[in-house]
Amino acid sequence: MKALKYLVAGASALAITAPAAMAEWQPRKPVEFIIMAGTGGGADQIARLLQGLIQKKDLSPRPFIPINKPGGSGAEALRYLQDKAGDNHTVMMTLNSFYTTPIIQEDLGVDVTEFTPIALMAMDTFLLWVNTDRDDITDVDSYVAAVKEAGLDWKVGGTGSGQEDSVLTAMMEAEFGYDVTYIPFPGGGTVAKNLVGNQIDSTVNNPAEQMEFYRAGNTKPLVQFTGERQAAFPDVPTAKELGIEIEYYMQRSVNGPPGMDPEAVEWYTNLFQTLFDSEEWQGYCKSDGLTCETMLKGEELATFHENQKVAHEKLIAQVGAAAITGE
């Protein structure tokens, strides 16, 4: 009987090439889960974890296929999603290059506010890290003193000009009034390794990238750029407490192409809500220093994106695109 039902359903789907929205929308084919970064990074890890959970909990009738599109700091992924307008079987895991890349690459022709917001899975945080060998640096004041003494010999590692951490580095330069040498590496893991190996002097990494080295006593955080102290780092002061006006987050949200059907959006939103509330996801957030209290979705997330976009435009105008792109 089931086979017959499917033949009939298939035939009717053929008859109407654009099938009418069913009462309960469900993916009819595998869902492309685009990741706007390369393999092994934070966004990639999260996307693959989510994909694994979807499969494990059998939440979707069709699998999610993770596809990395790291080209051009996310430019390729953004354009791909833009061109997929109206497609109900593509979603994308984003990070802050979601905002910065269209600003820096003006001729890309992508407006992220047109995309369909689905779910804000987490806010990732940034901390300032130095190697534990640096006994002379114990807090932000001694850090700033050390940087000023070293001048341009102070080497800050990051994941690439135009990436989030280069924005944050530029913000710190403006705030503290020093200049440093910024060295790009491919991926946060490599940055962390170079900090442990003393190839660079400091970095602003996400907690996930430094956590294991921190637990092993190789590196130490000096300040966190959050509103409140995180549970994972109760003894590290926030920038605000020290009177430094820097608060910066990395958003980890899932978005769809422009013009997704409302039924599909609803289905995806429910799916990611289930994932968000799962024990596994909350556990991951806790151990990796992500903030996952409530999941923003729909209108709230659209407003969030709009605010973030404006904030990033302002930031980039403030520090100057040249400070971020290096040359």
Partner: protein, 505 residues
């Protein structure tokens, strides 16, 4: 030492549990199969893993994964030898001599050498891994951009003499590879480079596999079609047990290259960011440089198959080291592996050895067993692989073309790269006919991005002072070795000439 033996023993016991042993067999077979498809490698094989992990406990899953990883590594050599298309980027150097051997009707010998060299490489590497993981991890941390650049210089030095006899054309080929490597988004300046026709797809750059499959899959295939006038039929090879035993005796021809590849491969593999492909290429180059008969390389020298195969297997084991001890992926496969470990609730990092010893030693134990199982399976399947060569060209050609197109598509999930592959393939065919060597371009596109990035990182960090490469001991050592290697062919030629002159007088 004693603790290592005890821990390893328990790891081995874990690996030979019936369920685990079964998973090792399943993993090796799946890996071999995926690995021998052009373009597909262990990265793709990891996709098979995910559903499996929901059925079995994490330790069994990682054992399956290790088996898959090994199987894919061995499998890469199979398509390099039988089809002349690198099954994975790590197996590209295997094509240089494996393909001529197959064309001369010695595919079984080449496959045997690849299997045995892989086994030795893998085994040497696991033993070194077991004994020296922590100190090696500490050494890897000393490797900054300067050392990486010096290592790339060393890699380039091993290729001297790998090109053709036409010097301007060889230079052109190398430079073309290096320039193509620069296509795409430059992370150092944050700017897109060489974006043709304003196509955003170019920001991703031109992948190594796209070039390699274009050149070897399409270009060489067209060339073969032409030279053989369509009768692309290899000699049938006799593959009885007797023949296998006989082929086993060839081992003395390539054992030195195998040792060289094993140690070099492990060492290069342990360095984060280097990986198995440069290791295999360096091993091939060095093996040729120090060979008594360097001219026979590229024409079907069995040592030219063994050297890169030993090295890529050793290196892929080695590349697990930065992942397990530091949580840094050394290759895309290990990057996805890393994601898998997180799903299982394991944290790769400096504390993994002490906090999850069962897992780590289970993994190491299964590497020993998987390596052993794969070599047996591989040798047993050689007759099957050889049969591919007996297919008539009107069946083999469409299959190869289809696998090339889909293999390229599968690596990046975009049709764009299949177009690039076709263009490169046709161009390679026309160039090849005019005696432009293609191998240097393929080598250059592997090492080009690493070399350029590490050079610029070093100079940014030294604020433009080139002395930085000489001031650091490891980097200086690599540069001196590189210089010695570059001058070696000249010196040896000079010495030969002098000897000949003395003999005359």
């Amino acid at each position: 030492m004693e603790t290592i033996i005890v821990a390893l023993g328990s790891g081995l016991v874990e690996a030979v549990q019936p369920l685990n042993l079964f998973m090792i067999f399943a993993g090796c077979l799946a890996g071999l199969f995926v690995g021998c498809m052009p373009g597909l490698g262990s990265v793709n094989g990891v996709a098979i893993l995910l559903p499996v992990t929901f059925l079995v406990p994490p330790t069994t899953a990682i054992i399956f994964l290790a088996a898959l990883y090994y199987g894919a590594m061995y499998g890469g050599a199979i398509s390099s030898i039988t089809l002349g298309i690198p099954g994975a980027s790590t197996a590209v150097a295997t094509v240089f001599d494996g393909r001529p051997m197959a064309q001369a009707g010695k595919a079984d010998k080449a496959l045997m050498a690849a299997a045995i060299a892989s086994f030795i490489g893998g085994t040497v590497s696991i033993i070194l891994f077991t004994l020296f993981a922590p100190p090696l991890a500490a050494f890897a941390l000393k490797f900054g951009p300067q050392e990486e650049f010096a290592l790339m210089l060393l890699a380039f030095a091993t290729f001297i003499g790998l090109g053709g006899d036409d010097i301007p054309k060889t230079i052109f080929s190398i430079l073309l590879g290096l320039v193509l490597a620069a296509v795409g988004f430059d992370i150092i300046s944050g700017k897109p480079r060489l974006i043709f026709f304003d196509m955003v797809e170019f920001q991703r750059g031109i992948g190594f596999l796209v070039l390699a499959i274009g050149v070897y899959g399409i270009g060489e295939m067209l060339w073969t079609l032409e030279t053989t006038k369509g009768s692309v039929q290899m000699h049938k090879v006799n593959t009885g047990w007797k023949k296998i035993k006989e082929n086993f005796k060839d081992i003395k021809l390539y054992i030195n290259s195998t040792w060289l590849g094993s140690f070099l491969g492990f060492f290069v593999g342990t360095l984060p960011a280097a990986g198995a492909t440069p290791a295999a290429l360096m091993s091939y180059g060095l093996s040729k440089t120090f060979s008594k008969d360097p001219d026979s390389y590229g024409k079907g020298n069995i040592a030219g198959v063994a050297a890169p195969e030993a090295a890529n297997n050793a290196a892929s084991t080695g590349s697990m080291l930065p992942m397990i001890t530091l949580g840094i992926p050394g290759s895309p496969t290990t990057a996805i592996l890393l994601g898998g470990m997180i799903i299982w609730g394991l944290r790769p990092g400096p504390l993994l050895f002490t906090e999850s010893p069962d897992f780590v030693w289970g993994l190491i134990g299964s590497m020993y067993v998987a390596n052993f199982v794969t070599v047996i399976l591989n040798i047993a399947l050689i007759p099957l692989f050889i049969r591919v060569l007996a297919m008539p060209f009107t069946l083999l050609t469409p299959i190869i073309f289809v696998l090339c197109v889909l293999g390229v598509f599968a690596t990046t999930d975009r049709m764009f790269d299949t177009w690039i592959m076709l263009i490169i393939g046709v161009a390679a065919y026309f160039l090849r006919k005019l005696n432009y060597p293609v191998a240097p371009a393929v080598l250059a596109i592997v090492l080009g991005p690493l070399a350029e990035r590490s050079l610029r990182q070093s100079l940014i960090s030294s604020r433009g002072d080139a002395m930085t490469f000489i001031e650091r001991p490891i980097s200086l050592t690599c540069i001196l070795i590189a210089l010695a290697l570059m001058s070696y062919p000249l010196v040896s030629r000079f010495l030969k000439r002098r000897k000949a002159a003395q003999a005359e007088t």
